[in-house]
């Protein structure tokens, strides 16, 4: 909800005079002030509809009014002098009877309900004091639906609060979940059984106040909320850096829940982030060091003790002059920096492909040097006009797409003040706006999930999209370079976009690396800078590939281009590959040639599939979920993550392996690493070397941080089974695992007080067992967390700086006679390496295919399902054909689902129907 900035007013709650915000309703005011008032249908991000009648309070006209009247707190504005009573006996009775009605049909199945113990309905029932069912007639029942691999459906538990459809349809823009039936037969589900299509379906689990929608992946290894040790972490499955809570019990990662962050994810996560965690539990995850004695045929990697493996490696490395280090955009900043320190700046590769590296550096240049500030997700949500260039955000940065979907309401909402409708009055607002949408223009290769809220869309090859962007920039500010050869219809569209953006108050331009075309990024920068020159407070946001792409780009590594290893010699040179599957970034022949040139090849990773055949040493790295470190998100905001699991034997954080390798190889660089024992030691070194990263240590309180001399417990105080869980091995109760890296403890003992925001292990408050307890962690509903440390923004835009535009806009993308331009089409499920190892996500990964416009398909004589041969220099593949009406003509899309070999895209390819077998 939008925050009001008007002066506070005084309201009287149960005789107490308190300050409140006039932009808020009474329910929000009461919750902000710390009163416990039950509610169901109101949601901080969705506003009020007054459907459940649960938040009844008594309102009095003035001091002399003794009778008062019952009002719904969520539907009543906080006005100066409002007098209400929460404790009034009539109001209490009213609330108790409402919950009694809601519970008439609630089934007797809390013991087998996954929501039990963190159920808002349970909390509210206890809060209102309803204990026994007086109604003696039979209960209503429903049949459930199979909603796919993420969400379980149990309709009997429904209390008809409408939150699910309001989230799914109004917020997430989903179409396939709705409310059916009439009177007391209301049914919340799909027309027929089937997988929920929205990429935000997982939020139903948190939005539903009871157990209608529950996490299907959790139920496969179920544990109650009170039994899980939770840890604040950062989602590692895309570049947005949403805050998450990772919950673990007995060495198994159990689930991911949303960790509210006022600037990034707010109350919602995408499905990749929520259900991609199971890679941590993958049975094939690397957990022991392994060594290959020689490169001869059929000699395989043999598991070894860490000390022995390091000693052998030390001997092998002693004769080597040079070590080349390949970093990774999915490893922490600290691990990458450690590798860089070990091998030296000139031998450090960022671990990104040539294209990826180029794009990341370009984006860094735009964000750091340009006049347009990099906007966080919530700032994008506040934008009143938007232009998306090239990026299918629903698949590359879904949380950003969700923010843009909300942003289209901002411009129409400006009339609400005139209409005197408060913004939290959700259904009134929607009626008043009548579906009006603010300007959102989308130029992409194929249709996107945001098209239904777009003002206009534009399809074309990546170059054409960039050309359009440049033309818009030129239209906004004529100093910006011109695009040639504009058709009439294009010119019309360009004028429309330019006018919409230039007349907006807070327009945003969004682009990304998804198309593989650098000009898309440059065009976005040109538009944002042109707007800035016009004096419009425009912002810019980019979607990058991985969780730490921007972080590793800050470390000045080299890119993995073909000539990168020229002159390497296996007698002299060794290579360390850090958490990186190079097959995803280099063409196979190049990669093989590369790895041949080095001996030994040392791999530090946790993904078994990422280990190349040439690896001589493998060291098991702790994945992000099980380690401590820092990630830099797409906004340029550094955030700390903490280990959600006690350290496993033989598994270390990558930077510790690198330090130990340096020690055993007695490299000169070890001198600067010898005192690295904690993360803070590396932070000091990074801050000394990179001025941009000088505040890297401020992302979270340091390891010695304590509250009243106590650590912050990861386990809730009701954590059970302590004296029975480890008894399989030993009867002697072991000490809780130590965690010297952070102020958090793997224990239920510690401070009961609320820690600073980067350290909050779970949302739980007295009488609020569900995630709705987040209200108790904020000073103001929807505002920042108390003691919020939102991470460190590493660079700010130079708003007054005038820097030159990117010149030489690309020419029109010519159609070639026999060839099509093959562009990448990233998919939400499959494009990211780690989440694709999760079993639930694996069920949703589409089959690899080539997507064609039906007209192009006709021209090539293929139909959906036919196999087609793709040929280009260095590329031969056979894939099935998918046809898509929304696909641009003259362009073929390659679904990026994490299969097969890497190809540099976009590329001109010849497509030919494969001979039928």
């Amino acid at each position: 909800m939008t925050k009001g900035n008007t002066d506070s007013i005084t309201i009287h709650v149960d005789g107490r005079s308190v300050q409140a915000d006039p932009q808020r309703n009474l329910l929000e005011s009461c919750l902000s002030l710390g009163f416990d008032l039950p509610y169901f249908c109101w949601h901080p991000a969705m506003g009020s509809v007054g459907a459940c009648r649960q938040c009844a309070v008594k309102q009095f006209k003035d001091e002399s009014d003794q009778a008062g009247r019952i009002v719904m707190a969520c539907m009543t504005p906080s006005a100066e002098g409002t007098r209400i009573s929460i404790e009034d006996s009539e109001a209490r009775e009213f609330r108790a009877s409402v919950i009694e009605w809601l519970m008439l049909n609630h089934p007797h199945d809390c013991p087998v309900c996954d929501e039990g113990g963190e159920c808002h309905l349970q909390d509210m029932t206890v809060m209102t004091g309803h204990v026994s069912r007086r109604y003696r007639e039979s209960k209503r029942t429903y049949r459930n639906q199979d909603l796919g691999p993420f969400v379980t459906h149990e309709m009997n538990r429904c209390i008809q609060c409408y939150r699910c459809v309001r989230f799914y349809r109004d917020i997430a823009g989903g179409e396939d979940l709705n409310v059916f039936g009439s009177r007391d037969r209301l049914y919340f589900g799909r027309m027929t059984d089937g997988t929920l299509e929205s990429e935000f379906s997982g939020n139903l689990v948190e939005v539903c106040p009871t157990g209608v929608f529950t996490d299907k992946t959790l139920s496969r290894h179920y544990a109650r909320k009170w039994d899980m040790q939770s840890t604040p972490s950062i989602c590692s499955h895309c570049s947005v850096g949403c805050n998450v809570h990772l919950s673990e019990r007995a060495g198994i990662m159990r689930r991911v829940t949303n960790r509210y962050h006022s600037r990034i994810n707010g109350y919602f996560l995408c499905d990749r982030g929520r259900f991609g965690y199971e890679y941590v539990n993958h049975p094939q995850r690397l957990r022991r060091p392994a060594v290959r004695a020689s490169r001869e045929n059929s000699v395989s990697l043999i598991p070894l003790m860490p000390a022995e493996a390091l000693a052998q490696l030390g001997v092998r490395l002693a004769q080597k002059k040079r070590i080349v280090g390949v970093g990774s955009p999915r490893a922490s900043l600290e691990s990458n920096y450690a590798l860089r320190t070990l091998v030296g700046g000139e031998h450090f590769f960022s671990g990104m492909s040539e294209v990826e590296h180029h794009h990341a550096s370009l984006i860094l240049r735009v964000l750091k040097g340009g006049p347009a500030p990099s906007w966080s997700v919530q700032e994008v949500e506040q934008a009143d006009a938007a232009l998306i260039l090239g990026e299918d955000l629903g698949h590359t940065a879904p949380r950003l797409a969700l923010a843009l979907r909300q942003s289209v309401r901002n411009q129409p909402m400006e009339q609400l003040e005139r209409l005197n409708i408060p913004r939290w009055q959700d259904s009134a607002v929607r009626t008043a706006l009548h579906g009006q949408k603010g300007p959102l223009y989308i130029g992409t290769v194929a249709g996107t999930s945001l098209d239904d809220v777009a003002t206009r869309t534009f399809r074309g090859a990546p170059n054409d999209i960039a050309r359009l962007g440049c033309a818009v920039a030129h239209k906004i500010y004529p100093d910006s370079p011109k695009s040639s050869e504009l058709s009439l219809s294009e010119a019309d569209l360009i004028r429309e976009i330019a006018e919409a953006l230039a007349s907006a108050k807070r327009p945003v331009v969004v682009a990304g690396t998804g198309t593989g075309e650098a000009w898309v990024i440059k065009a976005a920068a040109n538009v944002a800078w042109a707007l800035r020159r016009r004096g419009v407070a425009a912002g810019i946001a980019f979607a990058l590939q991985e969780c730490n792409t921007l972080g590793v780009a800050l470390l000045d590594g080299r890119s993995l281009d073909r000539t990168a290893t020229t002159g390497a010699d296996r007698n002299r040179d060794a290579m360390i590959i850090l958490e990186n599957d190079l097959r995803r970034r280099l063409e196979k022949p190049t990669l093989d040639r590369w790895l041949e040139q080095f001996d030994p090849v040392i791999v530090i990773d946790h993904v078994d599939e990422a280990v190349p055949d040439h690896a001589d040493f493998v060291f098991p790295a702790a994945p992000i979920a099980c380690s401590d470190g820092t990630l830099v998100n797409n906004e340029g905001c550094a955030q700390r993550f903490f280990s959600a699991m006690p350290k496993e034997p033989d598994v270390e954080e990558s930077w510790r392996w690198i330090r130990d390798i340096a020690r055993h190889a007695s490299r000169d660089s070890f001198q600067s690493m010898s005192n690295w024992n904690r993360l803070e030691d590396i932070h000091d070194a990074i801050a000394g070397e990179f001025p941009l990263l000088r505040r890297i240590g401020e992302t979270a309180p340091p390891a010695p941080f304590r509250i009243w001399d106590q650590k912050i417990p990861r386990a809730p105080h009701r954590f059970s089974g302590r004296t029975a869980l480890p008894m399989l091995e030993t009867i002697h109760e072991p000490q809780p695992p130590d965690d010297p890296e952070s102020p958090l403890a793997f224990s239920m003992e510690g401070t009961p007080r609320q820690p600073p925001s980067p350290l909050i292990p779970f949302f739980w408050a007295s009488r609020w067992n569900s995630n709705e307890a987040v209200n108790k962690f904020q000073d103001e509903i929807g505002g920042p967390l108390r003691n919020e440390n939102p991470g460190v923004r590493l660079f700010d835009a130079q708003s007054r700086r005038v820097i030159p535009f990117f010149e030489n806009a690309p020419p029109r993308c010519d159609r070639r006679n026999n060839q099509l331009l093959l562009v990448p089409i990233p998919r939400l499920f499959g494009a990211e390496e780690l989440s694709a190892r999760s079993s639930a996500i694996r069920e949703r990964i589409p089959q690899a295919a080539v997507v064609l416009n039906p007209r192009d398909a006709d021209r090539l004589g293929v139909r959906k399902g036919h196999a087609i041969d793709i040929t280009a220099p260095g590329l031969v593949r056979r894939l099935p054909v998918e046809t898509d009406e929304t696909m641009a003509g003259g362009v073929a899309g390659l679904l990026v689902v994490g299969d097969g070999a890497y190809v540099t895209l976009p590329a001109w390819v010849t497509l030919r129907r494969a001979p039928s077998t």
Binding site: S138, T141, F180, S182, R185, Y222, S720, L725
Partner: protein, 174 residues
């Protein structure tokens, strides 16, 4: 004389006792009578149909003041929840009976048996095989799934006590 009197009294008391019934019980040859509500060894019972009563809700483990109960929930192909494993560390148990009180399905019960001494502490860690009995224990009638709203094979939606048949969502009748 003053010193002798108490000793004589004691001798008299012992002598008089010879003609009364002894209070000593010849345990273990003679069983000890315990009350029917005695809180002894913990068992897991079965419902009247012979299926496991425990639905792995974790309430016993959270109620346990010494945290000596641990389990892992799972679900079988019929849709019934059950504990994949269930462990009670009797070397920690204080036989308070809170687990029994917390159990919503009458699965966990404290019985009258208390003869659990062992030479090795590890033998006091009982797994599900040691805990699960084949009868219903103290509550012969109760069957959770006949009351609960979830469907299992053999009991469809609407098949529980005091439940109407599933609603027809497509009905337009008022």
């Amino acid at each position: 004389m003053k010193l002798l009197m108490p000793s004589l009294k004691a001798v008299w008391r012992v002598f008089a006792r010879l003609f009364k019934r002894p209070v000593t019980i010849q345990y273990p040859d003679q069983p000890i009578p315990v009350s029917s509500r005695w809180r002894g060894r913990i068992i897991l019972s079965r419902d009247p149909d012979g299926e496991e009563r425990c639905v792995a809700c974790y309430l016993c483990s959270v109620a346990c003041p010494v945290d000596c109960i641990a389990l892992q929930a799972t679900e079988d192909t019929q849709g019934r929840r059950y504990p994949e494993w269930f462990r009670i560390n009797f070397s920690r148990c204080i036989f308070c009976g809170y687990c029994e009180e917390a159990c919503p399905t009458y699965a966990i019960q404290l019985i009258q048996d208390f003869e659990m001494s062992e030479y090795r502490r590890t033998s006091l860690v009982y797994e599900k095989d040691d805990l699960l009995i084949s009868g219903t224990g103290k509550y012969p009638e109760y069957n959770f799934y006949r009351v609960a709203g979830v469907a299992i094979s053999g009991k469809d939606k609407g098949g529980a006590q005091r439940e109407s048949p599933p609603v027809d969502v497509r009905s337009l009748l008022p």
